[in-house]
């Protein structure tokens, strides 16, 4: 497929794509293999995957996070999620997609597809309309900043949040997406990131940590209890994230094929194991298995399997899920307390840590001997080699992301300030920022 220069490709998905290609050979032989043609089955699946990933953010993340804050801030979290969905939608078609997926720069794309110029209903990306590929990618660009909201909940100004995450989506997300998926240097380097372990989760989690540190703690943290308003919302959000993640991971096969099927199966398994692992650890160490724990564990497993989805087998999924559940439990429950940063809803603890666990283990369990589809040829098919490549990807993402986030936040702070007043924080953001409240 490397000979076809037009459609954006996922080098991270090299093996998956090769696989699919071989699988489809008979049918391709019937059609003309030289010119790409639209496949209705692939297109159907990608249309659905796009809907599923949108559902992850609204209502998924909105409910997942909304249920975890205090009653007075429920609507503010939902509003932030909803507004970011809308804002990134516009930014993406205006310039984001072009920056991420056009051109062959090592670090960033170009402006050739501003306002999606040149993309019509008949333009294809592989076997699906490019419009579908673009919208599918848009839903990834939406959920990534939406995840960051978890770190800054209950204390950031709405206006500052919009500026921060809007700028972040163009200055941090788009370049990283380009580097890993859009033809940039990490892609060339052989990094395996099937569905966005680095681009989405590590990226969101690190930005969340930086933002949490720069904002400071919520007033009263550690002194007053801050009980989640409604864990039924959180469970519903976690469940919709889980269901939507099928679109996220199996959709990243960009077609309805065996790789998609494999990706869906390992996604399910990792989520289930990680939820049981978190729940079990909680039960053993803190006395009770909680619904919040299970939900968090499931998300941790989903995060960790994301980079690995198309590459590993069932054994790998079980191992990755188990480790992600245990490690993220420890990060969110113990490490956070010890270090004392206020990552309110654990975007860092679950997404960055889970993403790192997953990204590194992808380099292990993709190995054929461990039931995977194989390691990158750049790694000479050695696990250590692949681990090194994966580490570079992770490391670079962390550094670039941390610096970018810091600079953007400094700028926004200087221009309009990041944090609401103490009084507004006390009274709650629902009333003070949005003039609304839950009446039930």
């Amino acid at each position: 497929m490397l000979q076809r220069p037009t459609p954006p490709m996922f080098t991270g998905k090299h093996f998956a794509v090769l696989f699919t290609f071989l699988l489809l050979l008979p049918s391709l032989a019937l059609a003309a293999p030289s010119t790409p043609t639209l496949n209705t089955g692939d297109t159907a699946w990608m249309l659905v995957s796009t809907a599923l990933v949108l559902m992850m953010t609204i209502p998924g993340v909105a409910l997942f996070y909304g249920g975890m804050v205090r009653r007075k801030n429920l609507l503010s979290v939902a509003a932030a999620t909803f507004a970011i969905t809308c804002l990134v939608t516009v930014l993406w078609v205006v310039v984001g997609y072009s920056l991420a997926f056009k051109g062959s720069g090592a670090f960033i794309g170009n402006f050739s597809a501003l306002f999606l110029r040149g993309i019509g209903p008949d333009t294809l990306t592989g076997s699906i309309p490019e419009m579908v590929f673009m919208t599918f990618q848009m839903t990834f660009a939406i959920i990534t900043p939406a995840l960051i909201i978890g770190s800054i909940a209950e204390r950031m100004k709405f206006s500052a949040m919009l500026w921060f995450l809007g700028l972040w989506s163009l200055l941090v997300y788009a370049p990283i997406a380009h580097m890993v998926w859009g033809g940039g240097w990490l892609m060339g380097d052989g990094v395996q990131d099937f569905a966005g372990g680095t681009v989405v989760h590590i990226n969101a989690g690190i930005a969340g940590l930086i933002a949490a540190l720069m904002l400071g703690k919520r007033k009263g943290l550690g002194v007053q209890p801050m009980p989640p308003v409604n864990l039924a919302y959180t469970m519903t959000g976690a469940a919709l994230l889980w269901v939507g993640w099928f679109g996220f991971n199996a959709g990243s096969a960009l077609g309805a094929n065996g790789t998609a099927g494999m990706a869906m199966a390992v996604t399910q398994v990792a989520a289930g194991v990680a939820a049981l692992a978190w729940m079990g650890a909680e039960w053993a160490l803190r006395g009770k298995p909680t619904l919040l724990g299970m939900s968090s564990g499931a998300v941790a497993g989903l995060v960790a399997i994301t980079p690995a989805a198309g590459f590993v087998g069932i054994g790998g999924a079980l191992a990755i899920g188990l480790l992600a559940g245990l490690i993220c439990f420890w990060t969110a429950v113990y490490m956070k307390q010890r270090l004392g940063y206020d990552d309110a809803l654990d975007a860092f603890g679950v997404h960055a840590i889970g993403g790192i666990v997953g990204a590194l283990l992808t380099g292990v369990f993709s190995a054929v001997v461990l039931g995977g589809v194989g390691l990158s040829s750049n790694a000479h098919h050695s696990i250590l080699g692949q681990l090194w490549i994966q580490s570079k990807g992770v490391g670079f993402t962390i550094i670039y992301d941390a610096i970018g986030t810091f600079v953007i936040l400094k700028l926004v702070d200087w221009a309009i300030g990041l944090r609401v007043t103490e009084e507004d924080e006390s009274e709650g953001l629902d009333i003070t920022l949005h003039g609304e409240q839950i009446y039930e």
Binding site: M226, P228, R286, T290, L292, A332, Y334
Partner: protein
Amino acid sequence: MKLLIAIIKPFKLDEVREGLSALGVQGITVSEVKGFGRQKGHTELYRGAEYVVDFLPKIKLEIAMDDELVERAIETISSTARTGKFGDGKIFVLPLEQVVRIRTGEADIDAI
């Protein structure tokens, strides 16, 4: 006239109400409150945070009544609301100077 305020365990409400009805009490005002006292609270868990919730759900009854009913009402409430465990609650008796029934304008004993 007196205003009795009784704090009881929530699941005892129906029993107490029936007891009072049997006594001839025709009106009660009830509210959900939280009680802090000798009864120990429960622990809640939220990821990193674990804390004891000291305020436990209780039901507060307010009942206006004629002086002569007070003794029997206290007895009835005590016996129906008692489980013998911490947290069974309290009964407070306050002086009540005047009562008006809004619908009719009747006053005092007639209004109860």
